[in-house]
């Protein structure tokens, strides 16, 4: 009797895992859902669309309200939504660029005098 009971619980938990897992795998198979871009797919693919990286949950307000809030909080830190170039996880110390704007340009063969570029938008 106990063994039968255990088997029933095992079967039920397996059914629940399959029910949750199959849709999740289906979502992963869609490149757009994974946020892949033309650059990630191949060098000559110019058909990529720029999609926001942090709007995953916006269409499911009721179902994932709590998850969305957590995601937004996380994205705020991860993606640095201010108009700045952001440091990334794993970036070596000193690799993170300074705030947006002109300064001493990188030392490469381009900048003859090392003077920062002057930029304006009309």
């Amino acid at each position: 009797m106990t063994r039968k009971h255990a088997l029933t619980i095992l079967a039920a938990s397996a059914a629940v895992a399959v029910a949750i897992g199959i849709p999740a795998l289906g979502a992963l198979s869609d490149p757009a859902e994974r946020g892949e871009t033309s650059a990630a797919r191949g060098p000559d693919d110019q058909g990529g669309l720029w999609r926001l990286a942090d709007d995953d949950d916006d269409d499911h307000h009721d179902r994932h309200h709590r998850d969305r809030r957590a995601s937004r909080d996380r994205d705020h830190h991860d993606d640095c939504d201010d108009d700045e170039v952001c440091a990334r996880p794993g970036m070596a110390p000193g690799m993170a660029p300074g705030p947006m704007g002109t300064g001493t340009p990188p030392q490469n063969k381009l900048f003859g005098t090392g003077a920062p570029p002057q930029v304006k938008v009309n």
């Binding site: 871009t37 990630a40 990529g48 108009d83 700045e84 170039v85 990188p106 570029p117 002057q118 938008v121």
Partner: protein
């Protein structure tokens, strides 16, 4: 007498540093890069202006318009060349450029870049629109200065003046 002897190394060092610095200054020329966007009806465009050599190898970035690093992967040519390394654009990054606007960059570029097989590229990307790597690719030549070239998707015209 002793003072003049002591000053000699300093003067020699000054002469040496001057000799090294002056040619470097003389080998750069002021260049203005003008990029005018078309009225494509979208948000501000991210633009990466960078240079490759005669073999197509990445040399360096001149300017990055657009400050959110998470979108740099959409600038396909630049991103493949640099891996998105932020050190490549440290100090040369500005805001994205709106549709119909003109981005004007004045910079001292090395003389050696001209008439030596180097190419200036512009990659462009706009939110919810198609990416456009290599929107512009123009050889850097003295003869090409002042001549406007059209882009493929977002850039109405691009030219460099010396």
């Amino acid at each position: 007498m002793r003072n003049s002897l002591a000053a000699r190394p300093a003067l020699a060092a000054l002469a040496l540093t001057t000799a090294l610095t002056v040619p470097a200054l003389a080998m750069a020329k002021p260049v203005t890069l003008t990029t005018t966007l078309s009225s494509y009806g979208g948000d501000g465009a991210y633009l990466a202006l960078y240079v490759t050599d005669a073999q197509g190898a990445y040399v360096g970035t001149v300017w990055m318009a657009g400050g959110k690093s998470k979108y740099y992967q959409h600038l396909g040519g630049w991103y493949r060349a640099t891996g998105g390394n932020p050190a490549e654009i440290n100090g040369i990054t500005g805001a994205s450029v709106g549709a119909g606007r003109t981005l004007e960059i004045s910079v001292d570029l090395a003389d050696t870049l001209f008439d030596a097989g180097y190419t200036l590229h512009v990659d462009a990307a706009v939110e919810d629109m198609r990416d456009s790597p290599n929107e512009i690719a123009v050889p850097l030549t003295a003869a090409g200065a002042g001549k406007a070239v059209p882009g493929k998707r977002y850039v109405a015209s691009f030219q460099y003046d010396m």
